[in-house]
């Protein structure tokens, strides 16, 4: 199917194109004619480092309705973008809409393996496998940073203080780059560096209700206002 995009359109305002597509998805999603727009939108998300789950699910649905029109290249991009959205379960949501047959293709098997490693916090294996498959991942700018953000998220849920080596392995940064990274986090994200066991360094992660359970607000005994209104007549 020949879908030639004139050069001008691609150089046009991405923001208005995004708005137009989001409108389509909201108002007229069950329409085979919007498929080309949705595909262009995927490419735009990749280029401008933005992301729209709704639009991508809409496209995957259309591919499901008309398998002949599916572009595996676009699907691969959607999946990479979904990986970058972790810890959100977007990757699984996308897989639910992709037939088993298609999932058997090499590049999808690889992406599924990568997702598996991330879901089970096996960061070392993840980065090893990612290095072997740069060609799939390089296509999407911002991939590394997104995964590093996810790694930091999981570490922050789990640790109050984590050894530097654990962090380094999780985000795949070492040496000088790691120093710079830590500097940035200390300056902007409330990280603290402490001396650890032996010659090690400990990284103190920011307080949250997840790694400081005592901070968790006990919501169990909160009584909603509507229930109290029941006894207003009695209280007089």
């Amino acid at each position: 199917m020949g879908r030639e995009q004139p050069q001008q359109e691609q150089e046009g305002e991405p923001a208005s194109m995004a708005y137009a597509v989001e409108q389509l998805v909201a108002v007229n999603p069950y329409n085979p004619d919007i498929l080309p727009d949705l595909e262009d939108y995927v490419n735009q998300q990749v280029a401008s480092q933005t992301y729209s789950l709704d639009a991508n699910l809409c496209l995957l649905r259309l591919y499901q309705f008309e398998p002949d029109r599916m572009s595996t290249q676009i699907v691969a991009r959607i999946l990479v973008k979904a990986l970058m959205a972790m810890p959100a379960p977007d990757f699984s949501l996308c897989l639910f809409l992709i037939s088993e047959r298609v999932q058997m293709e090499e590049q999808f098997k690889t992406l599924i393996v990568l997702s598996h490693y991330l879901e089970t916090a096996r960061f070392r294996q993840f980065w090893d496998e990612a290095a072997k498959n740069r060609h799939i991942l390089e296509v999407v700018p911002g991939f590394e940073q997104a995964i590093q953000a996810y790694a930091v998220h999981v570490l922050s849920l789990t640790y109050q203080k984590t050894p530097r080596s654990i962090l380094a392995e999780a985000i795949n940064i070492e040496g000088l780059s790691l120093e710079k990274f830590l500097e940035h986090q200390v300056a902007n994200c409330g990280w603290i560096l402490e001396k650890g066991q032996g010659n090690g360094q400990l990284i103190v992660l920011p307080y949250s209700e997840f790694n400081h359970p005592e901070l968790k607000k006990s919501s169990a005994d909160n009584v909603p206002l509507e229930h109290i209104t029941r006894i207003f007549p009695i209280l007089g």
């Binding site: 329409n31 499901q64 959100a88 916090a121 109050q160």
Partner: protein, 516 residues
């Protein structure tokens, strides 16, 4: 009412096929249609409901146990040949056919045509009737059910005759997924139900308070069909495997409150069943458990009132399925405090032993997760038409197999977590090294297990915020694990409220007693 889900398509075996005369109209039917027609014209919703709910069933049992009702052409003369009534009659006619017999391909196509005509009349806004919510719900429910049934039927290509294939190719618009979704979407939009619900919340519109009925001389049909279509969309999206969008379609309905969706038991159950299932697939286990718990308690308390109704079997079936889903959810997210005592005892009776085995996470547990999921899941569909060129195979199981496979994959990823749970329940402080030894893994592996536990028990809500589903709270300080005991807080607030109201009631009663 949609036909039982384990409904198999096959060649028609009408016991009295030879005896069926579409033009024969028994007197009781003549009376039935002419009265129903009159009540509809008079907008007498109560009587319409009686006839629709009771008389139709009685007559079906008496005269049409295994034959269709008389053809619409035969009854038309008794209802002034009213176009809209005939569309309504045909809708009931097909619903009866699907429930008691096996529709042929031709009949499936004709039913689709009837829905198109009926919905188009409604969408044009020219309908001036008030129909009972039960009937309007049944229309949407049956519409989605027949779509599901058609997809299942179409996917069984192996036994298709050449005639059938030719018909399928010719009428490719019938039960086309775009058509189905667009009708539901159109009903939602044209009825402006989303805006009505928003205004209803602010008190600017009367919708929930009147159960959707229009007391200003207008019609409730478009509004309520639009309302129920949101549930219809949730259901279709679940059948396709798109849980996120399904939940989005349901958003305008606030399920924490009663509403029009709770007016009809079938709609209440369908809504919560699919809502819970979608949340389960989205790993929002606490949300799923909460809603299943509420629904199961409600069914427990009220099912006796539905014993005589045609929906009773369906209610029971969905009840059992939701117990299975609850068992799965609790095995993945052990938070028993979320479950009401009555529901919990029923759950233990039905699945107590299986749940213990599921939480052991061995090969046997995989089989159990498979069994429960397969029993309780929706009948997933492949929405695309087959390629009629390729060799004829049955692919009606493909969609289900995919969802099952992905679900079991998720379960497997959570396999190691139950071991961790057991240990963390016993210790308040333990070093990584020691725990690793007890669990017979090395330290790095233990670290990944603990991080996986955190990741899997902290879901991302629809607003992007992280919600903890965790039953055990812990954190790691360098190489020491500190477990924080989560005390199950006693719900004093609720208890006091109940006692205050009760005491007030007793005092009021006492006041009324006149001492002789």
């Amino acid at each position: 009412m949609a036909a039982p889900y384990d409904y198999e398509d096959g060649p028609q075996h009408l016991a009295s096929a030879a005896a069926y005369d579409p033009n024969y109209v028994p007197d009781s039917v003549k009376t039935f249609v002419s009265h129903l027609y009159r009540y509809i014209r008079d907008k007498n919703v109560y009587e319409i409901h009686q006839m629709y709910e009771t008389s139709f069933q009685t007559l079906s049992d008496r005269h049409f146990k295994d034959t269709p009702w008389p053809s619409v052409d035969a009854v038309a003369p008794y209802v002034d040949n009213d176009h809209v009534f005939c569309l309504l009659y045909r809708e009931m006619w097909f619903r009866h056919l699907y429930a008691r017999l096996s529709p042929t391909l031709r009949q499936r196509i004709d039913s689709w045509d009837n829905y198109c005509s009926l919905f188009q009349v409604v969408l044009h806004g020219v309908v001036n009737m008030q129909l009972p919510n039960q009937w309007l719900w049944d229309m949407v429910d049956e519409f989605v059910y027949q779509f599901q049934s058609f997809c299942q039927y179409r996917a069984k290509m192996k036994t298709k005759t050449e005639q059938e294939i030719a018909l399928l190719r010719q009428f490719d618009q019938a039960w086309n997924v775009y058509g189905v979704l667009n009708f539901l979407q159109a009903l939602v939009e044209k009825s402006t139900i989303i805006q009505i619900l928003e205004q209803d919340k602010e008190g600017l519109e009367q919708f929930t308070a009147t159960d959707g009925y229009d007391y200003n001389g207008g019609s409730n049909v478009l509004k309520v069909l639009g309302y129920f279509s949101m549930v219809g969309l949730l259901r279709v999206h679940c059948l396709l495997g798109d849980y996120h969008t399904g939940l989005k379609c349901l958003l305008p309905i606030d399920i924490s409150q009663p509403g029009v969706y709770t007016c009809v038991i079938g709609s209440h159950i369908t809504t919560i069943y699919h809502y819970g299932f979608a949340n389960l697939m989205l790993r929002r286990y606490v949300e799923a458990i909460r809603e299943f718990n509420k629904m199961l308690l409600y069914i427990y308390k009220t099912k006796q009132y539905h014993q005589k109704s045609a929906q009773y079997e369906q209610i029971l079936k969905k009840n059992e399925q939701m117990y299975a889903l609850l068992a799965i959810s609790l095995s993945l997210c052990p938070q028993l405090s979320l479950v009401e005592e009555t529901v919990n005892s029923q759950l233990r009776e039905k699945y107590g032993e299986k749940m213990l085995r599921m939480q052991r996470y061995d090969d046997e547990s995989d089989a159990l997760y498979d069994e429960l999921f397969s029993y309780a899941c929706p009948k997933f569909i492949t929405p695309s038409a087959p390629s009629y060129e390729e060799p004829l195979v049955n692919y009606n199981q493909e969609a289900y197999r995919l969802q099952l496979k992905l679900f079991l994959h998720e379960v497997k990823q959570q396999q190691l977590l139950s071991g961790v749970r057991t240990f963390l329940k016993v210790y308040s402080t333990i070093s990584l090294g020691k725990l690793a030894t007890y669990m017979e893994v090395d330290e790095p592996t233990l670290r990944t297990i603990l991080m996986t536990f955190k990741h899997k028990t902290h879901a991302v809500g629809s607003d992007g915020k992280v919600i903890s589903n965790a039953d055990i709270d812990f954190y790691i300080d360098d190489d020491m694990i500190q477990v924080v005991e989560s005390k199950t807080a006693k719900r004093y607030g609720d208890y006091f409220l109940r006692q205050i109201v009760k005491l007030e009631g007793v005092m009021t009663d006492l006041d009324r007693v006149k001492l002789e």
